[in-house]
Amino acid sequence: MNERLLDVRSLRTNFLTGGGIVNAVRGINFHVDKGEFLGVAGESGCGKSVTMLSIMRLLPDTARVQSQGILFDGVDLQTQKMKYMRSIQGNKIGMIFQDPMTCLNPLYTIGNQLMEPLQIHKKLSRKEARKRAAEMLDLVGISNPERRLRQYPHEFSGGMRQRAMIAMAMSCDPKLLIADEPTTALDVTIQAQILDLMKNLKQKFDTSTALITHDLGVIASVCTRVIIMYGGLIMEQGYVEDIFYRPAHPYTIGLLKSVPSAGERTQEQLTPIPGTPPDLMNPPPGCPFAARCSVAMKICALAQPELHEVGDNHAAACWLNHPKASHMKGRLEV
C-alpha cells in the first residue's frame, strides 16, 4: 500500500434550499494514493462533483460539510481556516472544470490568468511567471505560446481552452489534480487528446489525479482505480480490471451494460437502467439503488449495506454479498 495522499472519512454535504435540505453526499469514505489515477463515476446528481468541491471548499454559502476528517498530505483540511485552504488551492491541489467556454474570465488575457497562481503561490515576478506560463502552454501542446499568452479566451477554441485550464491547474505542479468532467463538453477527437495529455502529465510530474466523469469509457482508458457513486453513496470501488470484469454491484453491472464497448462489432443490445435517481431531499432508508435494482430484496429497502470487501482492494455495498442472498446472486447475468 503506497503512501496515502488524500484520505476522506465519512464525508457528508447538505444544501439548505428554499424547499428543504438536500443531502447531496451521505457519508463516503475514500482515499487517493500518491501517483494514483482515481476515477469517480456515476450518473449526474450522484454527488461526485459535490464531493470534490466539498474537499476544495468551493461550495456556495448554502452548503454545509461534515466529516470525520479530510486528511490531505497529513493535514486535516476540515479544521483548517480559509487562509490555509487558499494556500493549497491551485498550489497543492489543481482543479479543472467542465465547460471550457465559461471557465476562463473573458476580459483578461490567457497569460494574465495563467500567471495568477504562479504569482500568488510561487511569488514569481511578472517576467518569470510569464516565462513559466509560456512553458506550461508549450507543455500542454499549444503552439507559439508567447503570442498565445497575449490573446483572450474568446480567441481560443474549446480544446485549446481546456488545455489552457490544464496548464493553469498544473502550473504550480500540484500534488493532486482534480478534473471535474474535463472532456464532457469536448468532441471525441479532442477528448482523446486531452486524456493523452493528462496521462503523460501524470507520468511526467507523478501528480495523483482524480477524474470525475459519467463516461466509463474515459475511466477505462486512463484510470487505475475506480469509485462508482450513486445517490450520494459509494456503491463499489476497486481496480479498473475488477470493476470492469468482475463487477460486484448490480448498479455497476447496469452501468456497464448501458455503455457500448467500442471495438467489438457486436449487435449486442444496450439495456438502459429504468427509473430515475433518488430524490436527495428525503433519501430512501435502504440502498439508494433498491428502487431500480432488478435483484432487489426486502432487506435492500430496509437497510443500507456498507462497503464489503469482495476481493483484493475491491469492495461493494450490496446485500447480494450476504451469504443468505446467494440464491439471488444467480439471477444476476454479468
Binding site: L58, F97, E116, H154, E155, M168
Partner: protein, 312 residues
C-alpha cells in the same frame, strides 16, 4: 492597439458630426411651431404691439423659418452661435462660457461621489444579498429616487447652514458652497448605480470563471475586485455616458436653489423665454458634449471588454 480601436473611433466620430447638425435642425423648426416669441410684454402689457413688432423685425424673427435657418447656419459655420434675445448683447457662447465652469465643477464632483458611493454599495448589497447590509444599502439608494431633490436640499440647508452654521446658505466661490448641491445632485445617480451594480454583480458572481479563480487560490477580495468588478462594471459604464453629459451641463433645480451661476438654469429659462438662439446654442453644446461623453464611454467599454474590439 490603436488600429484595433480604429473601428470604434471612426464610427463614433462620423455619427457625432451627423448628430451635431441634426438636433439643431429639428430644434429650429420645432421652436417656430411653439407659440410665443422672445419679445413679449412680460408682467404687464406696457409695450404697445407696434414696438414689439419693431423689435422682432430687428432680430429677423419675422422672416420665414427657412430663411432664418440659412442665416443661422451661415454664422454657425463661422463659429458664431448668435446673440441671446433675452440677455441683450450677450452672445450665446459668452453665456455658455460664463456658466459652464460652475456647472462642470458641481457636476464633476457629483459624478465622483456617485461612483465612490454607488459602486461599493452595489457590490456589498450583492455579496451580502438578503443580509442587513443589502437592506441598508438598498434603503440608502432608494432615498435618491424617492425623496424629491428640493426637499432634501431644503432639509440639508436647514440643518447644516441654519442650525449648525457649518455651510453657507447659498452663493458660490469656496468649496463649502458646493457641499449641499453636490450631495443633492448625486443622490439620484447613486441610487441608479447601486442598483445596476447589485444586479450585475449578482449575475457575475454566479459565473464559472469566478469559481475557477477561487480554485486557483485567489483571495476573496481579489476574486471580487479583479475578476468580478471588471465584468460587473460594464452596464454601469454604458449608463455613465449620458449621466456625465447630464451632470456636467448643470441641473436647473439645484442651480436655481443654490444660486450657482451655472448653465443648468438656461436650459429651462431659455425655453420659457423662447430665447431661440440660446436654445439652439445650448442644444448644440449639449449635443456635442453628449457625443464626446458617449465616445469616451465607447472607448472605455472597448478597453474593458476585448470582445467588443473584435466584432467588426
Amino acid at each position: 492597439m490603436v488600429r484595433e480601436y480604429g473601428s470604434i473611433y471612426n464610427q463614433a466620430i462620423t455619427c457625432s458630426i451627423s448628430l451635431h447638425v441634426s438636433p439643431h435642425n429639428g430644434n429650429l423648426f420645432l421652436m417656430h411651431a411653439v407659440p410665443g416669441s422672445p419679445f413679449n410684454p412680460g408682467e404687464q402689457k406696457n409695450i404697445p404691439d407696434e414696438i414689439l413688432e419693431q423689435i422682432r423685425a430687428k432680430y429677423g424673427l419675422d422672416d420665414p423659418p427657412w430663411k432664418q435657418y440659412i442665416t443661422y447656419m451661415g454664422n454657425l459655420l463661422k463659429g458664431d452661435l448668435g446673440d441671446s434675445f433675452k440677455k441683450i448683447n450677450y452672445s450665446v457662447s459668452e453665456l455658455v462660457e460664463g456658466g459652464f465652469p460652475a456647472s462642470a465643477e458641481v457636476g464633476f464632483w457629483s459624478i465622483i461621489i456617485s461612483l465612490v458611493v454607488g459602486l461599493p454599495l452595489g457590490i456589498i448589497s450583492a455579496l451580502k444579498r438578503g443580509g442587513w447590509m443589502d437592506w441598508a444599502s438598498m434603503i440608502l439608494a432608494t432615498i435618491g429616487i424617492a425623496v424629491p431633490t428640493f426637499i432634501i436640499a431644503m432639509l440639508m440647508m436647514y440643518v447644516f447652514s441654519m442650525k449648525l452654521g457649518l455651510l453657507p446658505v447659498f452663493g458660490w466661490g469656496t468649496w463649502k458652497h458646493m457641499v449641499i448641491p453636490v450631495v443633492c445632485l448625486s443622490l439620484s445617480p447613486i441610487a441608479y448605480i447601486t442598483r445596476l451594480m447589485r444586479s450585475s454583480m449578482l449575475e457575475v458572481s454566479r459565473q464559472d470563471y469566478i469559481r475557477t479563480a477561487r480554485a486557483k487560490g485567489v483571495s476573496e477580495f481579489m476574486v471580487i475586485a479583479k475578476h468580478g468588478m471588471r465584468n460587473a462594471i460594464l452596464p454601469v459604464v454604458t449608463y455613465l455616458g449620458p449621466l456625465v453629459a447630464g451632470l456636467l451641463t448643470g441641473s436647473f433645480a439645484v442651480e436655481r436653489l443654490f444660486m450657482i451661476p451655472g448653465l443648468g438654469r438656461y436650459f429651462v429659462t431659455a425655453v420659457s423665454d423662447r430665447d431661440y438662439s440660446v436654445i439652439l446654442g445650448l442644444t448644440i453644446f449639449y449635443g456635442a458634449f453628449l457625443m464626446a461623453c458617449i465616445l469616451v464611454v465607447d472607448i472605455l467599454y472597448a478597453i474593458i471588454d476585448p470582445r467588443v474590439r473584435y466584432t467588426e
